[in-house]
């Protein structure tokens, strides 16, 4: 690096560090800003950042290499990342990649000799209904065909010559989000501010709503813990790290009902006595960031955020957006908090829970995008109204992200308690062989069990449904899932880090017809251990697919022809 370039880089970093009050927690935004400037974070830059934040360069390196979307080596000017989720694979993502390899003259993982293009696979980018899809830098392109992919490459070259950035094209997601659409903005916040704080929590508790991210923890209880936890500073964090493959409802909510999400955060802040809010937005949704910032700006201008909100004396709350770095595991709330603190996104030991010791050791509510949006409806129409919908143990309605082998993929609002068969009828997916409910970490339901209900008491889900038609090879499905988990494991605990590698190897042996029944039993037994001994939900859930295959499709997966 030229000395003058080093000086420029030092100046840039100094400004970034100053702007962030020399906070170590700003490490990831600083890395992202440096990368935006020079395409990657050089060793020199990492050392300057370390020096200025008074940490070790190795710490910066450690954090930077954790996140897939932070480059510590130069890459192409256009980084093409094709989503490798199962929905994309079923819709021909491999064909797209093959053609891109041909057109660019490189293999996946390589950069063209002229430094223009890098081609990579990436984990699910939340465009399953519009699959296949890919990102070019921060922009998203959906409904790809080999021809369209080629056109995008040519456009990139053209735009590079004219010093412009490519602009993504995201298709329209089919939705029937009726309840949200009929909600009148800010009525809930106004109503909440007229209520005593415990009454707000009581209303949410009465609704019976449980966390919509997938874990299903009762929201009212979470708010109550945070409200009663000791601490002057409290946080409300909105988990918009929608990384569970097959899930895209949060993307739709943020695109269409962002105000409701921020309003829900504000209500949570009021209820718990929090003064700071953070929207942790997955990197793949960068293309939405500007719009979201504008929504926040408008809310500040309307005194819906800021000091003494809507005239409520002493109620101060503001929201900032922090981008993720491309790590599925950061959807786990303690990993998300680590990431917000500028660390590697590695889940913490629990207890303690974030409601007591969360962001910066302060009590923190971490809620999913949908939970917060739904809270607006609950406060507006009452907990009883909400609890009147759904099943006995699963109250209210839920948004489902449905993709795969069906006629009408999209985001659907449904009350809890519908059977899988009913859902399949609705989206034109009848005749399916199996359905993945709850994303890769959820459950694989064979057709014989389509009578089961979508509800916490039966098939619990964060709302993702991937439909597999009769021709699908379940081993390919399992291989895809396990490739994902191997890639996305944070790597700290043994069962998950090493176990997923063993499971993936086992699935490949099955696929190649080289797995003995004895060895299949061995890896299924390992699944038991991973499910109970892993540190967080990722490792606990990743073996589910193999357990399901063994249980429901054992005859289909044994005795394959070699290298079929």
């Amino acid at each position: 690096m030229l000395l003058t370039e080093q000086d420029k880089m030092t100046k840039l970093i100094t400004e970034l560090v100053e702007k962030n009050n020399r906070q170590r927690s700003a490490l990831i935004p600083i890395l992202q800003a440096v990368q935006a400037h020079s395409g990657y974070v050089s060793q020199f830059a990492m050392q300057v950042i370390a020096d200025q934040l008074d940490i070790h360069a190795t710490e910066v390196y450690s954090v930077a290499t954790f996140y897939h979307f932070i480059n510590t080596r130069p890459k192409g000017k256009f980084i093409i990342r094709v989503s490798s989720d199962m929905s994309s694979m079923m819709k021909g993502a491999k064909t797209i990649v093959r053609q891109l390899e041909n057109d660019l003259g490189i293999k996946v993982g390589e950069t063209t000799p002229d430094g223009m293009f890098t081609l990579e696979w990436t984990s699910c980018i939340g465009m399953n209904d519009l699959a296949p899809a890919m990102m070019v830098n921060d922009e998203v392109f959906t409904n790809l065909t080999p021809q369209r992919a080629n056109q995008i490459v040519r456009d990139c070259k053209e735009e590079f010559r004219s010093h412009r950035q490519p602009i993504g094209r995201v298709g329209e997601t089919a939705t029937n989000t009726l309840t949200y659409a009929s909600y009148s903005a800010n009525t809930a916040l106004k109503k909440a501010l007229g209520m005593a704080r415990p009454d707000v929590i009581a209303e949410v508790t009465a609704s019976g709503i449980r966390g919509r991210g997938g874990a299903g923890f009762p929201t009212g209880m979470k708010w109550n813990f945070a409200a009663t936890a000791k601490g002057d500073l409290k946080y409300v964090v909105c988990n918009a790290d929608e990384g569970e493959p097959g899930t895209f409802k949060d993307r739709v909510i943020l695109a269409k009902f962002a105000d409701m999400v921020f309003e829900g955060m504000t209500i949570a802040a009021y209820a718990a006595g929090a003064s700071q809010g953070v929207l942790y937005l997955r990197y793949e949704y960068t293309y939405m960031r500007d719009a979201l910032e504008k929504v926040l700006e408008a809310r500040r201008a309307a005194n819906l955020l800021g000091q003494n909100i809507l005239g409520k004396d002493g109620f101060n709350f503001d929201i900032r957006i922090q981008m993720g770095g491309g790590a599925y595991v950061c959807g786990e709330e303690t990993a998300l908090i680590e990431s917000l603190e500028g660390q590697r996104g590695e889940p913490r030991n629990r207890p303690p829970y974030p409601v007591n010791t969360g962001l910066n050791d302060a009590p923190t509510i971490v809620n999913n995008v949908e939970t917060l949006a739904s809270v607006c409806c609950i406060i507006d129409k009452g907990g009883a109204w909400f609890a009147g919908m759904g099943s006995e143990k699963s109250k209210g309605f839920k948004l489902f992200s449905i993709s795969g082998d069906c006629a009408k993929p999209g985001v659907y609002e449904m009350p809890w308690g519908k059977t899988i068969a009913e859902m399949l009828d609705m989206v034109g997916g009848s005749g399916a062989k199996a359905v993945q409910v709850g994303g890769y970490s959820g459950q694989l339901i064979p057709s014989s069990e389509f009578g089961r209900k979508l509800a916490y008491e039966d098939v619990a889900t964060g709302g993702s449904v991937i439909i597999y038609g009769p021709e699908r090879d379940m081993l390919e499905v399992a291989e895809n899932y396990l490739e994902f988990f191997v890639e996305e494991s944070c790597g700290q605990c043994t069962p998950c880090r090493d176990g997923n590698v063993v499971l993936l190897d086992g699935v490949r042996r099955l696929k190649n017809g080289t797995c003995s029944t004895h060895y299949l039993n061995e890896i299924v037994s390992l699944c038991d251990t991973m499910q109970i001994a892993s540190k967080c939900g990722l490792g606990q859930a990743s073996p589910n697919v193999l357990v399901a295959l063994n249980k429901h499709f054992r005859d289909e997966i044994l005795g394959r022809e070699a290298n079929a």
Binding site: I55, V329, R348, N349, E487, G491
Partner: protein, 641 residues
């Protein structure tokens, strides 16, 4: 200032590695201060916040561990210590689970045994290497677990080929990542105890690895060679550069006159290599072993420890004289310079404070320089034929003796620095039954050292030795008049940072040896000499930051720094394992050896006085002494190109 017992500083560790705060009612008897837990049917009352692992140990329930270490903060990553806690669907890591309510725990169920066995199987599936060829065989925690859990075959396979290149670039430390189990003990050691930040986790998932900055070779990054990571590595992934074959080659070469000098700390720990209790002294058996192995002379590095006290003490007196009498700008406090890990630490992280460093070489290097000059002349041996081997508790000494400036004798002053562990191996290899050897003493002309030299091996030892000498030289009275048995106990102990104030109420005549440097002691009368001791470079950092901020430590006159926790007795070349209990036992051995010496003050060492009479004729800090016994430092900074 912090008077906390030595403990890892976790203030900068990621929260994922910290045990959370627990609000505990004050006092042991307060309501809510304790909680009763049932482990395998046995009830035990423990303080609130005790981990399940700690509680189990209290009642003799052994839970296996791998990532847990008594010196380090919680990680909870290896999962070998999982247990069943009532009310939980999944197993909990007992090392990371704080007990805050009366829970019931099971540590031995079918699911737990199966999980532990699986975890060991998974490690073995990634662990390349044969135990036969591993230096940690029979002292390896993974091997021990495999045995305990009856691993009969490699259930998930075993690597057939090396996957990573072994990093042998460093003079001190070898990293073989094929043997790493990713317990992160080295990372926590390097960051929390030592604050060096050389090692961290790179990448994620199965690609995660313990790595240096940008994957550079250890020799090219900021490593202080302290070897604390080696001491806490459960396997053979981290070891010292083994130089035993080089030393054997020298011993086998009859044209070479091979000299051993031995530091104080190894003798308090070497017995551990022979299954003796930590803290069993084997000094004189060791001397016999050296001779049987073929060393031509055996010297005690404590001799030059005494010399260091004279040189460094004189330097301090000169600095004080300049500051207090001549009102010159000199850098105070003066820092000790005998710990090579500490020297490299300050060179990297506080190069602007190097003028605080005493220019005196470490005892190892002083000795090397004297052996190849004074001793060579006395014995009539060509110094080129002399090989100096130093037995050290330290991996950084290997780096130190290879510093380019360390050849003031005209030759490489010290040829090899070997660790206690390497010596243990050589003794085994030579077929010597160390614990049952007859005793023998050190050789002349350096003879037996003093108790002051011996205590260099413990944190606070250099300071105590210096104070014994300075107090006697200045007051003209026996130090026993001020401290019982000359034991200056306030500087002893394992607190991370200790400050001691010594008011000088009376002064005596200036002794002959430094008469030419200061006319009298009147200027010291009424002065309160302030000294401090710090060990573990994380504590060193706190001291340096405090000095920079003008805090209480900036008022000190003299500060002892040791890179390793506990000082040299906890050095990176000492037998493995290490923990607070083992270090305390070694310290006890060192202080009892000190008490057994008839001469316990450096300035009374007859051989030291002799060398000033015969060789370093212009006295302490004189021209000759400066040439052979003093050095300079290299500002290294933090940037790596």
């Amino acid at each position: 200032m912090s008077t906390k017992p030595f403990s890892a500083d976790t203030s900068r560790a990621p929260s994922s590695e910290k045990l959370h705060r627990i609000d505990v009612a004050a006092g042991d008897d307060a309501i809510g201060a304790t909680v009763t837990v049932t482990i395998d049917g046995i009830e035990v009352k423990v303080p609130m916040g005790t981990t399940i692992l700690q509680a189990a140990r209290k009642i003799g329930v052994k839970i296996p561990t791998l990532c847990n270490h008594d010196d380090l903060c919680i990680a909870g990553v290896c999962r070998i210590c999982v247990v069943e806690v009532n009310g939980w669907r999944n197993l909990q890591a007992s090392c990371a689970y704080p007990i805050t309510e009366p829970i019931s725990v099971k540590t031995n169920t079918q699911a737990i045994r199966k999980a532990r066995r699986h975890i060991i199987d998974l490690h073995l599936a990634n662990h390349y290497g044969e135990c036969y060829t591993c230096r940690r065989s029979n002292n390896c925690e993974l091997q021990a677990l495999a045995k305990e859990y009856g691993v009969g075959h490699f259930r998930f396979g075993h690597p057939q080929e090396k996957r990573f290149k072994t990093d042998i670039s460093s003079t001190s430390i070898v990293r073989d990542m094929d043997k790493c189990v990713l317990c992160r003990r080295c990372v926590r050691t390097c960051n929390d105890i030592q604050e060096v930040g050389c090692l961290a986790i790179e990448n994620r998932s199965a690609h995660s690895q313990v790595m240096t900055f940008a994957g550079k070779p250890l020799a090219n990054v900021i490593c202080i060679n302290c070897g604390q990571c080696i001491n806490r590595c459960p396997t053979g992934a981290l070891t010292e550069q083994d130089q035993t074959n080089d030393v054997w080659a020298m011993l086998d070469d009859k044209s070479k006159h091979v000299v051993m000098q031995t530091a104080p700390a190894p003798r308090a720990a070497l017995g551990e290599c022979f299954n003796l209790e930590p803290g069993t002294p084997v000094t004189f058996e060791m001397n016999t072993a050296f001779r049987r192995m073929g060393f031509d002379a055996v010297f005690d590095t404590n001799y030059t420890a005494d010399l260091t006290i004279i040189e460094e003490g004189t330097e301090l007196i000169l600095r004080l004289y300049k500051a207090l009498v001549q009102k010159e700008a000199v850098s105070l406090p003066q820092f000790t310079s005998c710990s090579p890990g500490w020297v490299k630490y300050i060179e990297h992280f506080y190069p602007d404070m190097l003028d605080h460093m005493s220019s005196a070489k470490s005892p190892q290097q002083m000795f090397g320089a004297l052996i190849k000059t004074y001793y060579a002349q006395k014995k009539g041996i060509d110094p080129k034929d002399i090989v100096v081997v130093a037995l050290m508790p330290c991996s950084a000494k290997k780096f130190e003796c290879n510093r380019p400036e360390m050849k003031d004798s005209g030759f490489k002053d010290v040829d090899f620095g070997i660790t206690t562990r390497e010596l243990g191996k050589m003794v085994h290899e030579a077929g010597i039954d160390l614990p049952n050897l007859p005793k023998s003493d050190f050789d002349d002309p350096f003879g037996t050292a003093t108790g002051s030299g011996v205590i260099f091996g413990a944190t606070g030892g250099v300071m105590e030795a210096a104070l014994r000498t300075v107090i006697e030289l200045v007051t003209g009275k026996k130090v026993e008049n001020f401290y019982d048995h000359a034991n200056i106990t306030p500087v002893r102990g394992f607190e991370g940072i200790r400050i001691v104030e010594i008011p000088i109420t009376e002064v005596g005549p200036v002794p002959d040896i430094i008469k030419h440097l200061v006319p009298n002691w009147d200027w010291l009368k009424g002065v309160t000499v302030k000294v401090a001791v710090a060990h573990g470079t994380a504590n060193a950092k706190k001291v340096l930051e405090d000095i920079k901020a003008g805090g209480p430590l900036s008022q000190c006159h003299f500060i002892e720094f040791m890179a390793c926790p506990g000082g040299c007795l906890g050095g990176g070349g000492q037998p493995i394992p290490t923990n607070p209990e083992i270090r305390a036992k070694r310290a006890k051995a060192i202080y009892s050896e000190d008490a057994a010496y008839s001469v316990r003050k450096s300035h009374e060492n007859p051989a030291v006085l002799q060398v000033y009479r015969e060789f370093l004729k212009d006295g302490p800090c004189g021209h000759e002494a400066h040439h052979l016994l003093h050095t300079h430092y290299t500002p290294r900074g933090k940037f790596i190109s």
